[in-house]
């Protein structure tokens, strides 16, 4: 089994502590699996947010992150939060316990803290925690879902409801660091090939098109906001290649991206681990 060292922010809302811990986990670890690891020493409920190996790497669709835990449904979502966690040097969030008063989890380039939220509305939270307009992402659990900068929902209403019940008013991440790529030349080559394959607007250059905004690094504006955790192996690795390639080509591109990103050869058999794991879980 391929393993990955993951830097996790472990936030105990009951004790009001937040620290960064490094754990070794399988490449395909799910947020529910990560929650189980911490369940012996952290108070319930536990909600986790995981990123994949390819999250935030710049490949098209590489804004994928996943939510899970005992009390929330497991879903993949696309947005800025997962990628900016990785730019901040963090691979996963482990949120546990309950706070009587609303707290905000603030992560700034590898350092994490829990702060009292002075106001609970989005403008108030942005005023308090938006450190940089360009490099900070604020995710706020609202009635309709977890909403991040730009108004995209990155977690459904059940995840948002659970986070609010835990007393978490916001997650603010400032990330100015880098996601390392082992063979950046080869990686860039594959990434550009994929971007060129993405569907383009057919209107001529002189015509205004006023395209709507899309989630971070997404090329499919009409794509689904959430995917079930059972969905696909590319999502488990942090990238959504929907609308760009279809199987079996999708797998070939995925293996190329993984090989260049990690610097190790990836073969079909490594992806089968994910399929086997899903079947076992079922």
């Amino acid at each position: 089994m391929r393993v990955r060292k993951m830097n996790c922010v472990v936030a105990d809302l009951t004790e009001r502590t937040a620290a960064v811990e490094t754990v070794e986990a399988g490449v395909f670890v799910s947020p529910a699996g990560l929650a189980e690891r911490f369940s012996a020493r952290l108070p319930e409920p536990i909600v986790c947010l995981c990123t994949g190996v390819l999250t935030g790497t710049g490949a098209p669709g590489s804004g994928v992150m996943s939510w899970g835990g005992r009390a929330v449904p497991a879903v993949y979502a696309e947005g800025r939060l997962g990628a900016y966690l990785r730019y901040a040097g963090i691979d996963a969030l482990v949120l546990a316990g309950k706070s009587e008063t609303p707290l905000a989890l603030q992560i700034e380039d590898g350092a994490a803290s829990l702060e009292e939220a002075a106001r609970l509305d989005r403008p108030g939270l942005e005023e308090q925690f938006l450190l940089s307009a360009e490099d900070t992402v604020i995710a706020v659990p609202e009635a309709e879902g977890v909403v991040e900068n730009g108004g995209f929902s990155i977690g459904d209403s059940r995840v948002a409801g659970q986070l609010r019940e835990m007393g978490l008013a916001a997650i603010a991440v400032t990330g100015t660091g880098a996601v390392a790529i082992a063979d950046s030349r080869k990686f860039l080559e594959t990434v550009l090939e994929l971007y060129r394959k993405a569907p383009k607007p057919v209107t001529p250059a002189w015509q205004r098109t006023d395209l709507p905004a899309v989630p971070y690094l997404s090329v499919a504006p009409e794509g689904k906001a959430f995917h079930p955790l059972e969905a696909r192996v590319d999502l488990a690795l942090g990238v959504n290649l929907d609308g760009i390639t279809a199987p079996p080509e999708r797998r070939a591109y995925l293996l190329r991206l993984l090989g260049a990103c990690t610097g190790e050869p990836w073969e079909e058999a490594a992806l089968e681990e994910w399929t086997a794991g899903r079947e076992e879980a079922r």
Binding site: T57, G58, Y87, E134, A178, A205, W206, L211, P215, V219
Partner: protein, 158 residues
């Protein structure tokens, strides 16, 4: 000389240009140190690309205290010898479009060098909001776009 142009009506704010620029120039995904940034201008709906315009008379060339920034008289590209930068930030302060970025790896101020004539950001842009084209072609498209918006289709064609 071709120029890098930006059509905000096609920009979906996906961030691909910044991510790919950092991959090309830094060998890692680090959008904060990309040489192109899509920024809001006068409100959330107006966007602009903060990227080197390779100005006809670049103020950074005049301002640079070490004289390491040059404009190539043939290609028109403004480039710099980053290894000699002593980080006075004169270029950063004076650049009219905010196109100067700091590269912590190189420990120097940097700007877009158009990737030697085939910009990675243009190749990656999924909607064609970023283009690398002749200035005449670019300004013609912009004029037509403006005319259509203000006068309507029929009058704009005249």
């Amino acid at each position: 000389m071709k120029v890098l142009t930006f059509d905000q009506s096609r920009c979906t704010r996906c961030g691909a240009c910044q991510a790919v620029c950092s991959l090309a120039k830094k060998g890692a995904a680090q959008p904060s140190e990309a040489r192109i940034h899509i920024r809001g201008a006068e409100g959330p709906e107006a966007l602009r690309a903060a990227v080197c315009q390779h100005c006809a008379s670049p103020v950074c060339v005049t301002a640079c205290m070490r004289g390491i920034i040059h404009k190539n008289p043939v290609t028109g590209v403004v480039s710099r010898k980053t290894e000699d930068c002593f980080r006075c930030a004169a270029c950063l302060v004076l650049c009219p479009v905010g196109a100067v970025a700091f590269d912590h790896g190189a420990d120097a101020f940097v700007t877009c060098d158009l990737c030697g004539g085939d910009p990675a950001c243009v190749q990656a842009c999924p909607t064609g909001a970023l283009r690398y084209e002749d200035p005449e072609e670019a300004s013609g498209a912009l004029r037509y776009q403006y005319a259509r918006k203000t006068l309507g289709d029929a009058e704009a064609r005249e």
